[in-house]
Each structure stands twice: as C-alpha cells, then as structure tokens.
C-alpha cells in the first residue's frame, strides 16, 4: 500500500461539492444577534464626539470603555500597537470605533452613528513617511569591491501595488458566551492567534475557545484580521449575554481588512561582461499601513528573497517598512517575496538586455547550485534546484526558439526563476515549538492539529502522511476540527509550513504510534487497551544557525524552486495584455498528493497572473475606492491562461517523505514572467499591475 504520492479523494471534497459543508455564515444559534462595526471615515485625526442618532432600544452598543478591566485594548500580535477599538487617535479610514448589535439586521444597518473628528494631515506615500515600522540590512561581502570588478552597472526601480485577497467567502465569526468566557466559531486561518488576541482583550485568565468553521479561502487574508473581528464579536456577545455573528459584506471586507504590501524596490547591480553578478545593492521599501501588525516579518521575508536565486559574493539589501495612514497591510501568500522576486526577475531581464545576452543565459550563469551561499550566507545543499527547474522550463517550452519565432508579432514570451523558503524565517520554527497529536480511535486514528483546512488540502495531505507511516488505509484516518481546547497548537497555517513542518511532526507521531501498536491494528489496540494520544513537538534540524541581529545564517530549512514561462498577446490598439499560456515547473521536494500540489500551483499562478495584469487597488484619500468585485477585478476563466504544470521532486531530507513547502511558491513567478514577456514585445514597464493604461504610457500612445 502506498498512499503518499497518489491523488486520493479529498477528505472535505464531497461536502463541498454537495453544499453540505458549513461555513461561518451558514451557522445560526438561537438568540443570536447580528453585529456591525462603525468605522472611521478619516485617515488621520482624533475622535471628538460620538452621537447615537437612533432609537437605541434593543441595541447593544460597545465602545473602548467596554474593554474588560483585566484586559487590554490591543490586538496582540508582534507588537501591541493596534487597538480593537479607537481610543482617541484615528490612524486610518475604516478603523473600528463603535460596535453595535441587534437581532434585526435592518434596524442594525439603519442605525446612524455620527462621529465628529479633529482632522490631521495624513501621510499616504511610504517614501514621504518619516515613521518606520521596521528596518533591516543584509550584508554579504564587500559591496564597493564588488562594484570595482564590474564591467557594467545596471539600475532599476520596480513597483508593485496593493493586492486584495478576494477569498470568495468574506470574513465572518460568531461569538458565543461560554463558561464565563467566550467561544468563537469562524472563518479563521490561525485559531491560536485568535486565542492570543482574545486573552489580551479579556485578560489572561479568561476562558477562550476558538473553533475553525469551514473556511472559504484565506491566502493570508484570514491570518491576522480574524483576531480583530473575533474581538469585536466577543465584546458585543459578552455585553449582550447572547451569541453575536459578524459577517462582513464584500465592500467592508475590502475597505477594512488587510492587503498585500505595495512595494518600491531599487536595484543597482554590478555585472561582468561574461554575465557574472559581482555586486547587488538592493533597497526595499514596503508600505506597511497604519499599524505594525505583521510588517516586520513580511519585510524580512521580502528582503531575504530580494537577491533572487542567484550567486553573488557582494550583496547589500536594505529594507524598511513605512507607516502610512492606510489600513494595515498584512499577510498574503508569498509574504513579501512576490514583491522582491518581481523586482529582481524584471531586473535580470534588463541586465541581460544591457549585456546583449538572452534571459536564459544570464540566469544559467548565476543560478544558485549546491554549495553556493545565499545573500544571508546560507550554504545550499543537494536540494537546491534552480538550474533543473530553469532547464526543464526552457526545454519544455522551446523558449529560445519561440522567442526568436515570436519576434515582430504581437506575442511575447518571458520567464522568471524563483525560490521560496519553506516554514518560518530563521529561528522562527524553533520559537514556535509547534505540537501535533495523534489519537487512537475505535477504527483508526484521529489527527489533532490546529493547522486549518482553507482549501489547500491540509486534512487530506496530513491523513496521507499518517496513513502511509502507519501502514493503514487512508479512510481510517480522521482529522479533528480545529478547536483550541481539543487540539495542540501546531502553529499558524502560514508560511508554506503545514505540510513540511506540521506534516513532519505528524509523521513522527505516527512512527511512535506504530512502535507502540506492535503487530496490532489501531482498532485492535483500541479494543485491547482503550484510547490514548501521542503528542510530539517540532524538532527543527540541528544545523540551522540564524542570527536575528545581523540577518545572517540559515534563513530557511529548505527552499522550493520554480521557473515560469508566460506567453502574452498584446493588442497594439488597446494595450490590453492577454496571457495565453503559462508553463510552471516547480520543484517541491515530494508531492504528497499530486493533484492537490498541482492545484496549489494552478491557483497560485492564477493569483500571480491577476497580480500582474488585472488586479488594481485604487486607493483614494487612504481608502480603497474600487471596493467591490465589479470594480476590483480578479481573473475569470477567460482571463486565466492555459497552464502546463510540471512537478519536480528533489527531496528535502527533513520533510515528510521529502516534502518541502509549496503553497506560496507559485505566487512568486507569474508577475515577472508577464513583465518580461512585455519587455520581449518592446514594452519597458517596471510596475504591476500592467493595466492597459500603464502599458499605453510605457509604449507612448501612437
């Protein structure tokens, strides 16, 4: 029997295909009220006065004064700077000020809360901002000495915009008073993040239980923000003494919740005439929005990936995340890397052009190989696959011939080479100390983890790893619904770590269990000895050395590698860019479930294509002006190219069955490949999305 490496039926497949699966908004609890958030309408200033211009009968009204005495008005995350409810100062539009609940939604929505402000001048431009949320520098070798060896110096500035997650299920939670504390049921990526935030809100001794309901997509967008919504629902529920449901409509979700950080990346690169990179000076600026939230770690991952999958002895990467008076930007698939990979990969084509070589040659010359060191000084081992993915993609698409053949037509072809670190950065996994557990049941085993199924296939892939390790049928493995009072904290469902890190802990649990079972099946053992549970903690590889102060060392336990080739068609009259075909060659260690792995790459690539071409957040006066699915366009079937997906496997020795992280990798490649395809067509663009308006400016309308 071998279940790993086969595409078994998803554990959650049939419930989703029949509509039986229950999402937060599908649940209703007797006596439940509906909650609403009254938000700031100015980007910067102070609240002067709040007036309730409606009949308040039947309403529960909460403001900052309702924070419990044992608690604190702060959404605990990396730093404690973001309040659940405005105390006095408003830092961005859509900041929560007052909460309302009522049994009748029409009355709730009609309630008029009038807030008077003292307005102060906002800052929207991260380069004009004087307040940094985080700065860091990565230094390798001697930049000046490197530039001294250079025959050519190439400079470029690259910009990326906000990107909205557009999970099709908007954010929503239900808070239910329970045991003197609160139970939360909601659309949540990281249940224990919510526990942490609610313990800060209610006080460390409060009873807090968080249960993830079926979740209609996350992509990072339900990593940190659900803590805020859960806090709001909690305050209302505790004051009302009744369950409270808060489900955002699409516009509120878009205006109020996080987005991908916009970026400005400047490259100055020294190259020898033969194409060898000798010096890379990189500046990364992220627009963090109005609070710190996750910006320091997004900046960190972005900077670590900023030199691309290339060998260079002399590198300096300076990064800063700046405060602006816009809603905080946050986690989004890729977590800073799509921005910096976009920049370096667009820049590599400009370097190739400056040297008169083709895009493949410049990358072949510099791609990391086992034994090389990255910008942080991490020495790569045999699971480095930069050249194999590049060569496979080039060969499969007949890239060089095609590039010549398309010259002079309205089609262009471009490629990107990229990598993505699996798991938390540096010593992050050690600090997380994630736990997972296996529980014996009367017919098999049950997996207990807080890692959430948000579409990517967590339950299925974990069950495969456990079934394979135990040598029992896949059907005999159940997966518990994440409930923080029943499952251990296996860490957040982020950072491409759910398979590689949590899957590995489960594999260890299963190995322990197998030894204990001896010759018995789980069911036989259960009948003979009754239930028991095995809990294991993550053991990061001992060789990982990382210095948070100097940003040197082993940034990630391993990397997954990818090469995308995109062919586009440009309408010369309208400057519309149509992606025709995408080839994605991605090395993921081991595909536990090939169909799900392929699904991650197809879906991530489609998001990357959207990021590159049609997804434009129009910020006006600090607020998203196109906050609807009509006006913020994501790719439809007709905007998504035909895809050819190639999975390569080069096992990572400490991953379960060799698996690396793959969830974020496919997000990194499409945007630069599109921009490079446009460059092939003669369009010199260094900003995404490549809207027709921008392409036209770059071409010069004729």
């Amino acid at each position: 029997m071998s279940v790993v490496g086969t595409s078994v039926a998803r554990k959650d497949g049939i419930g989703k295909a029949t509509g039986a699966a229950k999402y937060a908004d599908d649940l209703s609890i007797p006596g439940m009220l509906f909650g609403r958030t009254v938000r700031s309408t100015i980007p910067c200033g102070r609240v002067k006065r709040i007036r309730y211009d409606f009949d308040t009968t039947g309403f529960t009204i909460v403001d900052r004064r309702d924070i419990p005495l044992d608690g604190r008005n702060v959404v605990a995350l990396i730093e404690d700077d973001q309040p659940f409810l405005v105390e006095r100062d408003v830092r961005h539009v859509a900041e929560p000020i007052v909460l309302l609940a009522h049994a009748d939604r029409e009355k709730l929505l009609a309630a008029d809360v009038i807030i008077e402000y003292e307005v102060e001048p906002p800052v929207f431009d991260p380069e004009a901002s004087t307040e940094s949320l985080k700065t860091l520098t990565i230094d390798k070798g001697h930049l000046d000495a490197g530039f001294a060896q250079a025959d050519v110096i190439v400079e470029g500035t690259y910009r990326t915009g906000h990107q909205e997650h557009v999970y099709i299920e908007p954010n929503g939670v239900i808070a239910v008073p329970e045991d003197g504390g609160i139970a939360i049921f909601g659309s949540i990526q990281c249940p224990f993040y919510v526990v942490k935030a609610l313990k800060s809100l209610l006080g460390p001794k409060a009873h807090v239980r968080v249960v993830q309901t079926e979740t209609g997509g996350g992509f990072g967008g339900k990593e940190e923000y659900p803590s805020m919504i859960a806090g709001h629902a909690t305050l209302l529920a505790l004051k009302a003494g009744l369950p409270v449901k808060i489900v955002y409509d699409r516009t509120e979700d878009m205006i109020a919740t996080t987005k991908r950080h916009p970026s400005i990346v400047r490259h100055r690169t020294g190259v020898k005439r033969d194409g060898t990179l000798v010096a890379m000076d990189v500046e990364v600026i992220l627009d963090g929005g109005a609070y710190i939230t996750l910006s320091p770690v997004v900046l960190s991952r972005g900077c670590i990936h900023a030199a691309g999958p290339y060998r260079c002895d002399n590198v300096r990467i300076r990064g800063r995340a700046m405060l602006t008076n816009t809603p905080p930007n946050g986690a989004f698939r890729g977590f800073g890397a799509p921005q910096t990979i976009f920049a370096i990969e667009a820049h590599m084509d400009r370097i190739a052009e400056a040297l008169g070589v083709d895009p493949v040659t410049i990358r072949e010359r510099n791609a990391l190989v086992p034994g090389d060191t990255t910008a942080t000084g991490q020495r790569l081992t045999a699971d480095c696959s930069a050249l194999p993915v590049l060569r496979e993609a080039v060969e499969r698409t007949d890239f060089r011939r095609k590039r010549e053949a398309l010259r002079g037509t309205n089609r262009g072809i471009g490629l990107s080479l990229f990598y993505h670190g699996s798991g938390f950065t540096g010593s992050g996994e050690l600090r997380l100390a994630s736990k997972a557990a296996l529980e014996l049941t009367d017919h098999g085993v049950r997996i207990l983890v807080s890692s959430t199924e948000i579409g990517q296939g967590t339950r299925t892939m974990h069950a495969q790893i456990v079934a394979e390790t135990l040598g029992i049928p896949y059907e005999d493995v159940d997966v518990a619904q994440p409930d923080t009072t029943l499952v251990p904290d296996s860490g957040p469902t982020v950072a491409s770590r759910t398979c590689m890190v949590v899957g590995r802990i489960l594999q260890r649990c299963a190995e322990d269990l197998k030894r204990r079972l001896g010759d018995l099946t789980p069911a036989e053992y259960y009948r003979a000895h009754g239930p028991f549970t095995i809990v294991r903690e993550h053991e990061p590889p001992g060789w990982i050395q990382w210095d948070d102060e100097t940003y040197t060392g082993d940034a990630y336990a391993t990397y997954a590698w990818g090469c995308d080739v995109v062919e586009v068609e440009l309408d010369a009259d309208t400057c519309e860019v149509r992606p025709l075909h995408l080839t994605a060659v991605q090395e993921v260690g081991k595909a536990i479930h090939p169909a799900l792995a392929r699904g991650q790459i197809e879906g991530g690539s489609a998001q990357g294509i959207g990021y590159a071409i049609v997804e434009h957040v129009a910020m006006r006066d600090g607020v998203m002006a196109n906050a609807s699915l009509t006006n913020y366009t994501i790719p439809t079937t007709l905007d998504t190219p035909a895809m050819d997906i190639v999975l390569l496997e080069n096992p990572y020795e400490d991953g379960p069955f060799g698996a690396k992280g793959l969830g974020e990798l496919p997000m990194d490649g499409p945007a630069p490949a599109v921009i490079n395809a446009l460059r092939h067509l003669g369009v010199d663009l260094s900003e995404i999305p490549a809207t027709p308006e921008r392409v036209m400016s770059a071409c010069g309308s004729r």
């Binding site: 029409e106 409509d249 309208t574 006006n631 439809t636 027709p692 308006e693 004729r702």
Partner: protein
C-alpha cells in the same frame, strides 16, 4: 444593504395595459431582470421602495422582423438576443454586445430595455443601438410615441422617458454594410467597459462610442469627415473634439482618447 428590503413592494401585472394603468396612478420604478436593483439600493443611488415588475408581460418579450426593421421587445434578455437567428442575420453586433454583458447568469436576466432605461454611458449594447438609429417605442396608459434612440438621452443618466411610460420595444432598421463592434473592458469577461465602439461601414459610415461622454455618443462629425473623404488621421482629430471622456475608477481620459482613435483607425482599415 442600506435599504430596508422588507419595506419594498412589487406590483406584478400580467398585461401591459394593467402595467400602464399602475404606472399612470403611481410613479413605480419598473424592474425586469433586476440586475441593478440591489446594487443601486446598497449604494444609495436608488431610493425607491415601490417597484413595477414587468417580467410577466408577454407583450414585452420576443424578437421579430417587421418590414425593414428588427423589432426587439424591451423585456427580451441578452441570452435570447445572443441566440436569435434574426439578430445574428441583421444586427450581428447586437448579438456580440449581448454576449459580452456579464456572465451567463446576468445574460439570462438582463434585458435590452433595461440596458436602455438604466442609462449608463457604459451600457454595452447602447453604441449598437446608436449606430442602428434605433427607434424606441414608448407607451403610457394614454399614449404611444416613437423616440429615436439618439435623442433619448438628455444628460448623464437622464432620459426623455416620463414616469408613466414604459419602453415597449426597440426597433433596429436594417442596414447595408459591414458591422463592427469592440468592447474594451476591465478584464476579458464580466467586465464593465472602459470603452465600447460600434460602427457600420457604409457610404455614410456610422460610428458610436460608449464611456466617452455623459451619454452614449454618436460621432456625427467624425462620420461626416470620413464620408467626405478626410484622411483617417484627420477623422481621428475630429473624433477627439467630439468626445469628452473623464478619469474614473475604470480608466483615464488619456487612455480613452487614445483608444478611441486607435479603434476608429482599426475599424476603418478592417
């Protein structure tokens, strides 16, 4: 939803006569496919609470050829129009335009009369009706009148339709010459237009644009320039004086001007 939906009421007459009587007695807002109803209520652009549902009126549905005209009931859906052999034979660009409105779900509900009455300058079918010199048949309980499509709009979202009138049908006189249509949207499907152009290549060419002015616009002077033998570049110069596009969420004035010119050139070369 900002409006209290439980307060809305819908009269649902079964005959046109009944509908017109209701409209005579009270200024109900007619709805058919309702594709703009909730969006309008939600954004506060629609304040009404009492509606006249005209989807049951058989008189408003169907496509026929009468003499030299293609007659389309105002309540005919985009789906019906797309698949109509008569439309495909006589006004194929109307079928093209209908097939580019939203997805299947919207095409099944949205109606041609609704597109006209909604009066958005970005309405996908409207430039086609403009180049067709379409005639709108309007009826009230007391009267019937025919209004040329090209004088139906008086300003941004303003029309000559009276509160007691319904658009009953849209008549498209047949035309010789090659028809041409191009929608430039915010994406490949389910898009709102940045610009729409419809044109007919005859001795007196007809050209209309959407999303470049407060109303759908027939480019009379550009047409005259081309008919009079002007060069295409000169005609584009005239076009630029006829259109008044703006910067908005979906595009920019500069882009719309450039693309309008480019599309005119493409049409003329086709």
């Amino acid at each position: 939803m900002k409006s209290a939906l439980s307060q809305l009421s819908f009269a649902r007459p079964r005959t046109l006569e009944e509908a017109l009587t209701l409209l005579r007695d009270e200024p109900l807002v007619p709805i058919a496919g309702a594709t703009d109803l909730y969006v309008g209520l939600n954004f506060g652009t629609l304040k009404a609470q009492r509606f006249l549902d005209i989807t049951r009126l058989e008189e408003l549905r169907g496509i026929s050829v009468t003499g030299d005209r293609l007659v389309i009931g105002a309540g005919t859906t985009y789906t019906t129009i797309m698949h109509s052999a008569s439309v495909r034979a006589h006004w194929p660009i109307l079928a093209d335009a209908a097939s580019q409105v939203g997805g299947v779900q919207i095409q099944n509900r949205g109606t041609l009369g609704g597109n006209v009455a909604n009066a958005s300058p970005a309405g996908d079918t409207l430039p086609v009706l403009a180049v067709a010199d379409a005639i709108l048949q309007l009826r009230s309980a007391q009267s019937q009148r025919a209004v040329p499509f090209n004088s139906f709009y008086t300003g941004y979202r303003q029309t000559v339709l009276r509160p007691d009138e319904l658009i009953v049908s849209i008549e498209l006189p047949m035309v010789e010459g090659k028809q041409w249509f191009r929608k430039v949207g915010t994406r490949a499907a389910q898009a709102i237009s940045k610009l729409v152009m419809a044109a007919v290549r005859t001795e007196a060419p007809r050209i209309a644009l959407g999303s470049v002015a407060p109303t759908p616009l027939r480019l009379r002077r550009t047409e005259a320039a081309l008919a009079g033998g002007s060069s295409i570049e000169d005609a584009i110069g005239v076009l630029q004086t006829e259109i008044t596009p703006i910067d908005d969420l979906r595009s920019s004035e500069a882009y719309r001007r450039a693309v309008a010119g480019n599309l005119l050139r493409r049409f003329w070369a086709s």
